[in-house]
C-alpha cells in the first residue's frame, strides 16, 4: 500500500456550545479516492476546513501531516501553496465574470503589469479540456448550469499545482448525468496522480468510486473501511453513520388518495423578461388531495420556474394560463397571497432564497407565519421558542439551542430548518424543491416520514427532485419536465429510471 499523503491526528475543534471534532484521526493514502461520510453535523466540513486553513493553526488542537511534514496553515493560501485545493459545499464563483476570468482568478497570467488575456484564454481553454467541459471560455458563469459551474471550480483548482483535491458534496446539486460525469472526471484525475477526498451523502456513488471510506459520527471517527477488502456496503455505511439500521429508506405509505382536485394548472406559460426567453410553455398538470407528485427533469428544464410562477411569481414573469386552486380560479400576485391561500414553496437555494443566515433558528422557522405566534402585531417570544423547539426535536436539527444562528449550522441542518419553516405555515399544498439536497440518510428518512404523515392528514405535496430514486420512491405520480414543457406523465407503477431519463432528454 502506498504511503499516506495526509495524516490528521487527534484533531479537536470546539465552537461555542458545540464540540464539532473530538480527537478525529483521518488518513489518506497517496493516489486514492477517499470518501468521507457521516450524518449532518458530524463534522465533515469542519474537518476539511481545519485541513485547508480556513480555521487556522491554533484554533484547533491536533497535528496535520501532509506529505510527511507537519503543517501549520494559517490560511487558505498556505494550504494551496502546499498543494491542497478545496471545493466547498457552496460554490465560490463570480457569476458576472466569464469562464476564463473565473478559472484564473487569483493566479492571473501577467505580462509586465497587465494581464495577458490571450495567454489566459489559452490556459483556460486547456483546463476546460482537462475537465471535459465543452463551453466557450467567454461565456459568463451565470449562464452555465450548476453542473458546469462545478466543473469550472475544479478547473480552477487544477490550475494550481494540486496534490490533494477536496470536494465537499460536489454532487449534491447535480442531476444523475452531471454527477456521473463528475465522478468519472475524478477517476481520471486519480490516474494522473491526484489524490481526492470526497464528501457525499449519496452512498451509491461512494460505493462506486471510493477506495477507502471514513465514517464520522458526532465529531468522532467511527471507522475506516477499505473497498478492496470488500468492506464497503450500503447497509454497513448506514449502520455506522446513523448508529442503527434503516432497511427501507422510503417508508411505505398506507392511505387512499382522494378524488378531490386541489390544484389544476392549464396551459401555463411564462416568459422571463430578465432572461429574454420563455421559461415555461403550455404546462398542464393536476394534483389531488393527499397526493405526492414528483416533478423530474434536468437542471434548468424549468421545474423551479414552474414552482415560483405558481407561488406568487416573485421573479416577475409574464404569465399566461389558468390555475384552479381549491375550486377557485386564482392566480397569486405575490408570495404573500399564495401563502395566505395555503400554498408553500421551500426553495432549492436555501442560502440565497430560503434562509436568513445571520438570524437564529427560531426566527427562521417562524418567519413565514409570524401571525400564528403573535397577538395584535406583537410576537410572543415564548410561543416562538416553544414551536421552534418542537421542530428542532421532530426534525432532529443538530444545534445547541434554537437561538443558534443558522449560518453556524451544517449544510444539512440548514436544509432541515428551511423545511421546518414551511411546515410551520401549515399549508394545504407544499412544494418542496430538492428537499433532500445535502441531507444524510437518516434525515432523509425523517423527512420522507414527515411527508407521508402530512399527506395522510390531507395535505398535497409537489416534490421537485433531481434524485431519481427519491422521485421513484416517494411519488404517487410523476411528471417529467423538459425544456419548459411537460414531456410526459408516469404513474408510480410504470415509472422507472430509464423512462424518466428518456423523457427528460427529449
Amino acid at each position: 500500500m502506498s504511503p499516506h499523503i495526509l495524516e490528521m491526528r487527534s484533531i479537536s475543534k470546539t465552537f461555542p456550545g458545540v464540540k464539532a471534532l473530538d480527537e478525529v484521526s483521518f488518513q489518506v493514502a497517496e493516489g486514492e479516492i477517499h470518501c468521507l461520510v457521516g450524518e449532518n453535523g458530524a463534522g465533515k466540513s469542519t474537518l476539511m476546513k481545519v485541513l485547508s486553513g480556513v480555521y487556522p493553526h491554533g484554533s484547533y488542537s491536533g497535528d496535520i501531516l501532509f506529505r510527511g511534514e507537519v503543517q501549520s496553515f494559517r490560511g487558505i493560501s498556505d494550504s494551496e501553496h502546499a498543494g491542497i485545493a478545496i471545493i466547498y459545499q457552496e460554490l465560490a464563483l463570480f457569476p458576472e465574470l466569464s469562464v476564463y476570468e473565473n478559472i484564473l482568478m487569483g493566479q492571473e497570467i501577467t505580462k509586465g503589469l497587465s494581464v495577458d488575456w490571450n495567454e489566459t484564454i489559452k490556459k483556460a481553454t486547456q483546463m476546460l479540456k482537462t475537465v471535459r467541459l465543452n463551453v466557450n471560455p467567454e461565456t459568463l458563469v451565470k449562464d452555465l448550469g450548476i453542473g458546469q459551474q462545478q466543473l469550472i471550480e475544479i478547473a480552477k483548482a487544477l490550475c494550481k499545482d494540486v496534490k490533494l483535491l477536496i470536494l465537499d458534496e460536489p454532487t449534491a446539486a447535480l442531476n444523475e448525468d452531471d454527477a456521473e460525469n463528475l465522478l468519472s472526471l475524478i477517476q481520471d484525475l486519480k490516474k494522473s496522480g491526484i489524490t481526492s477526498v470526497l464528501i457525499s451523502h449519496r452512498l451509491k456513488e461512494v460505493i462506486e468510486i471510493a477506495d477507502t471510506v471514513t465514517v464520522l459520527r458526532d465529531g468522532r471517527t467511527i471507522c475506516t473501511l477499505d473497498r478492496h477488502k470488500g468492506e464497503v456496503s450500503e447497509t454497513l455505511l448506514i449502520k455506522n453513520m446513523v448508529g442503527r439500521e434503516i432497511n427501507n429508506i422510503y417508508p411505505p405509505r398506507h392511505h387512499k388518495i382522494e378524488d378531490e382536485l386541489v390544484l389544476q394548472v392549464n396551459n401555463w406559460s411564462a416568459y422571463s423578461p430578465k432572461l429574454g426567453r420563455a421559461v415555461l410553455k403550455n404546462v398542464s398538470f393536476k394534483l389531488r388531495k393527499g397526493e405526492i407528485i414528483g416533478i423530474a427533469g434536468l437542471m434548468g428544464s424549468g421545474r423551479t420556474e414552474l414552482a415560483k410562477s405558481l407561488f406568487g411569481n416573485p421573479d416577475g414573469y409574464e404569465i399566461e394560463g389558468e390555475v384552479t386552486f381549491h375550486q377557485q380560479k386564482n392566480r397569486f400576485r405575490s408570495p404573500s397571497e399564495a401563502i395566505k391561500a395555503g400554498l408553500a414553496y421551500a426553495s432549492e437555494d436555501r442560502k440565497g432564497n430560503g434562509l436568513i443566515l445571520i438570524q437564529d433558528i427560531k426566527s427562521n422557522i417562524t418567519l413565514a407565519n409570524l401571525l400564528k405566534i403573535s397577538r395584535r402585531g406583537v410576537v410572543d417570544a415564548n410561543q416562538e421558542v416553544k414551536h421552534a423547539n418542537e421542530f428542532k426535536a421532530a426534525l432532529n436539527i443538530k444545534a445547541p439551542s434554537v437561538e443558534q444562528a443558522v449560518v453556524n449550522l451544517s449544510g444539512g441542518n440548514q436544509q432541515k430548518v428551511s423545511i421546518a419553516k414551511w411546515l410551520f405555515v401549515e399549508p394545504k399544498i407544499l412544494i418542496l424543491d430538492e428537499p433532500s439536497r445535502g441531507i444524510d440518510v437518516g434525515a432523509k428518512f425523517e423527512i420522507y416520514t414527515i411527508m407521508n404523515r402530512l399527506v395522510e392528514l390531507g395535505m398535497s405535496i409537489i416534490m421537485i427532485s433531481s434524485e431519481l430514486p427519491e422521485v421513484l420512491g416517494m411519488s404517487d405520480r410523476i411528471y417529467v419536465v423538459s425544456a419548459g414543457k411537460i414531456a410526459g406523465e408516469l404513474s408510480r407503477e410504470e415509472a422507472d429510471q430509464e423512462k424518466i431519463m428518456h423523457l427528460a432528454t427529449q
Binding site: 440565497g352 432564497n353 436568513i356 445571520i358 418567519l367 413565514a368 403573535s374 406583537v378 410576537v379
Partner: protein, 395 residues
C-alpha cells in the same frame, strides 16, 4: 467572583457593553480635562438636549441601514420642515396643535416620496436620496429667501427644545431643596423598571434552561447600570429637571426599540435586511417594508427638524446641514452593520450620545474646530473597527 470571571463575561458580551464602556471612558477623559465642568448639571442637561435631534435621526437611520439602504436627504428635509414650522407659526400665525401634526404628516409624505423609486423601480437609495438632498436644500432656501432667518416666539413650541417638564412640588420645599422632584421620580421608576424587566427576562430564560449570566455578574451589571441612570437623573434634577427634548427622545427610542424587537413589523424589517430574496419568498413585501422604513425616516426627520428649530427658536437657510452624516455616524458607532440585517435601536442612541459627547466635550475644552473633525473621524473608524472585529471573534 474572580477577575478572570469578570474578564470572561466582558469578552463574551463585549459587543453589548463596548459602547457603554466607550461612553464612560470619553466622559471620564472630558471630566478630567475640564476640571469637572463636563459633568456639571448644566452641561449634562445641555448635552442631552443637543443629542436629542441627532439621536432621533439616528434611530430612523438605523432601520434604513438595516434594510440595506441609506437616506442622505434627512438633514435638509429636517431643515426644510423646520422652516415650514416657522412659517406656519410666525408668518401664518397658525395654532401649534395644527402646525406640528401637519409637519409630521409632511415628513412621512416626503420619506415615502424619496423611497418610491427605490421600492418600485429598484433605483439605488443613495441616488434617490441624493436627489432628495438637493431638492430639500432648494426648498429650504426658497422658503427662507424673502425673510432670511425666521424667528419663532410661540412659548409652547420654544419649550420643546429648551424647557423642562413641570415639577409638581415647589422648588424650595424642605424636602430635597433645589432638586427637580418629578425628574427624580421618573428616574427612580426607570431604575425599578429596568431591574424588574431584566430579572423577568432572566427568569424566563432560565425556565427554558438557557444560559444566563452568573448571579454575581448580574448584580454587578444591575448596580452599574442603575448607578449610571441614577447619576444622570441626579444631574438633570439639579438643573431645571428633565428637558422635553429628552422626553421626546426617550419616547422615540422606546417605541422604536419595542417595534424592532417585539413586533411582527420589526421582525419583517430585520428579515428584509438579512436576506431580501428569502423575505419576499416568505410572504413579506420588500417594497412595502422599504416604503414604511423610509416613511418613518421622514417622520423622524420632521421630529428632528421641530426639535432643532425649537432649540434655536428660529429657522434659517442652513438649518440641517450635515445632520444626515451625523446621524449615519451615530448609527455606525452604535453598531449597525452596512451588510444589513443587524443593528440595535438602543445602540444607535448610545452612539449618538458618544458622538455628541465628543463634540460637546471638545467644545468645552476649546479644541479647534479643524481638530474636532479629525478626532470625530478617528473615533468613527475606531468604533466600526471595534464592531467588526468583535463580531468576528466568537469564542
Amino acid at each position: 467572583m474572580t477577575i478572570q470571571d469578570l474578564q470572561k463575561a466582558l469578552n463574551k458580551n463585549i459587543r453589548d457593553y463596548g459602547m457603554f464602556i466607550a461612553l464612560f471612558v470619553i466622559m471620564t477623559i472630558f471630566t478630567i480635562a475640564t476640571n469637572g465642568l463636563f459633568l456639571s448639571p448644566r452641561n449634562i442637561a445641555d448635552l442631552m438636549n443637543q443629542t436629542g435631534y441627532i439621536a432621533v435621526l439616528a434611530v430612523g437611520m438605523t432601520l434604513v441601514i438595516v434594510i440595506r439602504h441609506i437616506d442622505l436627504s434627512v438633514g435638509f428635509l429636517a431643515g426644510f420642515l423646520g422652516a415650514v414650522t416657522a412659517i406656519g407659526l410666525s408668518i401664518l400665525h397658525l395654532p401649534i396643535w395644527l402646525v406640528i401634526p401637519a409637519v409630521l404628516v409632511l415628513g412621512i409624505l416626503a420619506g415615502l416620496l424619496t423611497s418610491l423609486p427605490v421600492a418600485k423601480l429598484g433605483i439605488p437609495s443613495f441616488v434617490a436620496s441624493l436627489a432628495g438632498w438637493l431638492i430639500y436644500r432648494g426648498l429650504l432656501l426658497l422658503s427662507t429667501t424673502g425673510t432670511g432667518t425666521i424667528n419663532i416666539s410661540d412659548p409652547t413650541f420654544v419649550a420643546l427644545g429648551n424647557g423642562s417638564i413641570p415639577d409638581i412640588f415647589p422648588e424650595n420645599s424642605l424636602f430635597l431643596p433645589g432638586l427637580h422632584k418629578v425628574t427624580l421620580l421618573l428616574g427612580l421608576l426607570a431604575i425599578i423598571w429596568f431591574i424588574f424587566s431584566d430579572l423577568r427576562a432572566r427568569k424566563q430564560k432560565k425556565s427554558y434552561q438557557f444560559d444566563v449570566i452568573p448571579t454575581d455578574m448580574l448584580i454587578l451589571k444591575l448596580v452599574l447600570i442603575s448607578g449610571a441612570l441614577a447619576f444622570i437623573t441626579w444631574k438633570l434634577a439639579g438643573y431645571n429637571g428633565m428637558g422635553w427634548t429628552v422626553v421626546i427622545m426617550l419616547v422615540v427610542v422606546g417605541i422604536y426599540d419595542w417595534i424592532s424587537r417585539q413586533t411582527v413589523l420589526g421582525r419583517h424589517i430585520y428579515a428584509v435586511g438579512g436576506n431580501p430574496e428569502a423575505a419576499e419568498l416568505s410572504g413579506i413585501s420588500v417594497s412595502k417594508i422599504t416604503l414604511m422604513v423610509f416613511g418613518s425616516m421622514g417622520l423622524l426627520s420632521a421630529v428632528a427638524g421641530i426639535l432643532f428649530a425649537s432649540r434655536l427658536q428660529s429657522a434659517g437657510p442652513t438649518a440641517g446641514t450635515l445632520f444626515e452624516l451625523d446621524a449615519i455616524a451615530a448609527a455606525y458607532i452604535g453598531g449597525v452593520s452596512a451588510a444589513g440585517g443587524v443593528g440595535k435601536i438602543t445602540g444607535s442612541m448610545v452612539g449618538a450620545l458618544v458622538y455628541m459627547s465628543l463634540r460637546n466635550g471638545m467644545n468645552l475644552m476649546g479644541v479647534d474646530e479643524s481638530l474636532q473633525y479629525i478626532i470625530r473621524g478617528g473615533v468613527l473608524v475606531l468604533a466600526v473597527i471595534f464592531d467588526v472585529s468583535t463580531r468576528r471573534v466568537k469564542r
